[in-house]
């Protein structure tokens, strides 16, 4: 057994010889691997290609570039890293990085991602709603008045979904509804308009069970499929702000 040693290279040189000299020195010293620093928008060369450039000129050392996944195509990135493994004859690694900086999203243009995944949480019990760090909360009102009460307890920027179990076959903590699709549509319309619920999560054993309900809601003009591409856009949530952004820039 031996301990393993790695070296982090964080230069921004565009001269191949600089990189070759560094990595060869580490290779000759028996270092196990080097990592190549990179961020999506930095001044400096692409780290995967730097690793490719030194690969044929080194023999033993592992080559671990940073590659950012947020804006890159998974197909291209996975192909590039697999190819680095070929050109280095099995010495490639990958240090994963995500990009939360809106300035990096601007480099790619108008198709900015939604910032962060939407966070959804159950709020079935009597919690202090406002402290839940979620975008979407699932609640289980007993009736329209209870639904309105629960909505009032929750910060307005969060989205409140009523959990409803349709039919008796799904064991959940959600309120159970038994009745026709028309009656369920009436309930949904009432809770949406009167109680201020933002949406509904229907708990079913088979999605085809709600086809009549969806048709009825569409007929009433209450529901229509969204053309938005991100979930945040569909739900009317703002793009997430990176909580570290201000601290990082200070």
């Amino acid at each position: 057994m031996t301990l393993n040693l790695g070296v982090a290279l964080s230069g921004d040189s565009f001269a191949a010889d600089d990189w070759i000299a560094q990595v060869r020195r580490a290779d000759e010293a028996g270092i196990d691997f080097v990592t190549f620093e990179d961020t999506f928008g930095r001044h400096g060369p692409d780290a995967v290609l730097v690793a490719s450039r030194v690969a044929p000129l080194t023999r033993h050392i592992g080559l671990i570039p940073v590659a950012t996944t947020t804006h890159t195509e998974p197909f291209h990135l996975s192909t590039a890293l697999a190819t680095l493994d070929w050109v280095s004859r099995g010495r490639a690694g990958w240090q994963v990085r995500v990009s939360g900086d809106p300035a990096e999203a601007a480099l790619l243009g108008r198709r900015a991602p939604q910032g962060q995944p939407v966070v959804a949480a159950l709020a079935h019990g009597p919690q202090v709603w406002d402290h839940l760090d979620a975008d979407v909360l699932f609640v289980t009102p007993a009736d329209a008045d209870d639904a309105a009460r629960k909505v009032r307890k929750i910060l307005p920027e969060k989205k409140v979904f009523a959990d409803i179990r349709v039919g008796g076959r799904v064991p959940t903590g959600a309120a159970t509804f038994n009745g026709t699709s028309i009656q369920l549509a009436d309930l949904i319309q009432n809770w949406w308009i009167v109680a201020g619920v933002d949406g509904f999560r229907l708990r079913v054993s088979d999605v085809s069970d709600i086809s009549q309900l969806v048709a009825e809601l569409r007929r009433r003009g209450l529901f229509q499929p969204s053309g938005h591409r991100t979930l945040r856009d569909r739900l009317g949530l703002p793009v997430a702000v990176n909580r570290y952004q201000e601290a990082g820039r200070a």
């Binding site: 565009f14 191949a16 060369p45 450039r53 195509e73 197909f75 243009g109």
Partner: protein
């Protein structure tokens, strides 16, 4: 001084023209294969090495096309590694403008250009349609009609990023709306070389406007001369000189001890390129329907092709037959007149080698093409990986050098130097 011939080495690709059943065939993915061909090309003083891009395994009859080679590498990763084992050879590759984004691709291309000392070249293509799109975030977002808009704006955007020289940029056009700081200074010769293959009117115009070279498909000498004239005549409108855009068709060749020997070898290679299974698959690409019940050594089908170009039997290959019924009628007439089986016919109508003969004859023909303005040089597509250009470098290159139409030493270090481009 006679025109100097441009020569490039195409790494054998995914099509059936690459013969894998030959005992000399090496790996399609091992770095040794790329290194071998690149070193061979540099030994022959070639201008550049060329690598195509694979965005998805092709499918036929709804299944993976299992006669295709599987396992294609990332273009820029291979080219950058080849910069480590070569010193003068240009490093060119196809990168799709539909499924890349300008900031990232311009950054990676500029990185290669720096790390190779000015030897990078980019063959710009677009792929509309949903089939490739399924492998990417945006899906098949690009309409066929918009492909040249995307291509032109992508090239313009990349050039602006390179010219920003590591500074701030803000670019807005129909396809892109980007801003920030481009983190790569200008490379040794400014921009990577840009190649393009577009052949329609729109594609030719874009090439005349933006490209340094065209990867052309015009092989027959008269047709090639017409294409050459057409392209060069478009250049003055953009304030460009004739010699600022090079026309380089992709070609294949077969050498023999005598012309008859070369013809025999060429026939043998074609039979290996078109196995019975390959013959049926290629016939299906015209007929657009399952022909697996037909015997490749038997006659052509008497049914007509299926005319549904929205649902083709082959997925991932550009449309080759604008008029299926007419082509099918021509093939039937040819097969009947010469009593050809399906396989014999496919051998005749696909993949014929462009230059066949002794090294002296091939050298003479190549030179005639260039001196009579059918082209400015050739991208040679060997049928074997990785040693398929050995005979050309050993036998044909010295003859071209003797004629004074091909370099005996590199005169500069960048690809622009090789191509004689400013």
């Amino acid at each position: 001084v006679p025109k100097q011939i441009i020569l490039a080495a195409h790494f054998p690709g995914v099509n059936n023209t690459t013969v894998w059943s030959d005992p000399r065939a090496g790996s399609q993915i091992d770095f040794d294969s790329f290194e071998y061909l690149a070193r061979t090309a540099e030994r022959g003083k070639f201008d550049f090495f060329f690598l195509a891009e694979g965005l998805r395994l092709r499918e036929q009859r709804g299944l993976i096309h299992d006669l295709d080679v599987v396992g294609r590498p990332d273009t820029l990763t291979v080219l950058t590694a080849l910069a480590a084992v070569t010193t003068h050879l240009g490093l060119a590759g196809t990168l799709n403008a539909t499924y890349h984004e300008p900031y990232e691709l311009a950054r990676r291309l500029a990185t290669l250009d720096h790390l190779s000392g000015g030897r990078a070249a980019w063959n710009v293509v677009t792929s509309p349609g949903a089939f490739f799109g399924e492998n990417f975030r945006r899906g098949g977002f690009l309409d066929h009609a918009d492909r040249y808009v995307r291509l032109g704006e992508f090239i313009e955007t990349a050039r602006k990023l390179w010219d920003s020289d590591g500074g701030e940029f803000a670019i807005r056009n129909g396809q892109f709306d980007i801003k920030g700081r481009f983190g790569v200074p200008r490379s040794p010769r400014g921009h990577p070389i840009i190649l393009q293959a577009g052949d329609s009117g729109g594609g030719r115009e874009l090439a005349a406007r933006h490209s340094d070279a065209i990867f052309s498909r015009h092989h027959q000498i008269d047709d090639a001369r017409q294409f050459y004239r057409d392209i060069k005549d478009r250049l003055p409108a953009y304030g460009r000189r004739e010699d600022s855009l090079k026309i380089i068709p992709g070609v294949s060749y077969v050498l023999g001890d005598s012309d008859a020997d070369a013809q025999e070898k060429a026939h043998h290679i074609r039979r290996r390129q078109v196995s019975p299974q390959t013959a049926i698959l290629l016939l299906e690409q015209l007929w657009n329907t399952d022909l697996s019940g037909y015997d490749a050594e038997g006659p052509l089908p008497d049914i007509d092709p299926v005319l549904d170009d929205d649902d083709t039997i082959i997925k991932g290959r550009a449309g080759m037959y604008p008029d299926r019924l007419r082509t099918a009628a021509e093939w039937r007439a040819r097969a009947e007149a010469k009593n050809l089986s399906i396989r014999d016919l496919i051998i005749e109508v696909t993949g014929r080698q462009n230059f066949i003969g002794t090294a002296a004859r091939v050298a003479e023909q190549l030179n005639e093409y260039v001196q009579t303005d059918a082209c400015d040089g050739f991208i040679l597509v060997p049928h074997l990986t990785p040693a398929g250009l050995d005979d050309f470098v050993d036998q044909v290159v010295p003859l071209l050098q003797e004629r004074g139409v091909f370099r005996t030493e590199y005169s500069g270090t960048t690809l622009r130097d090789n191509l004689g481009l400013s």
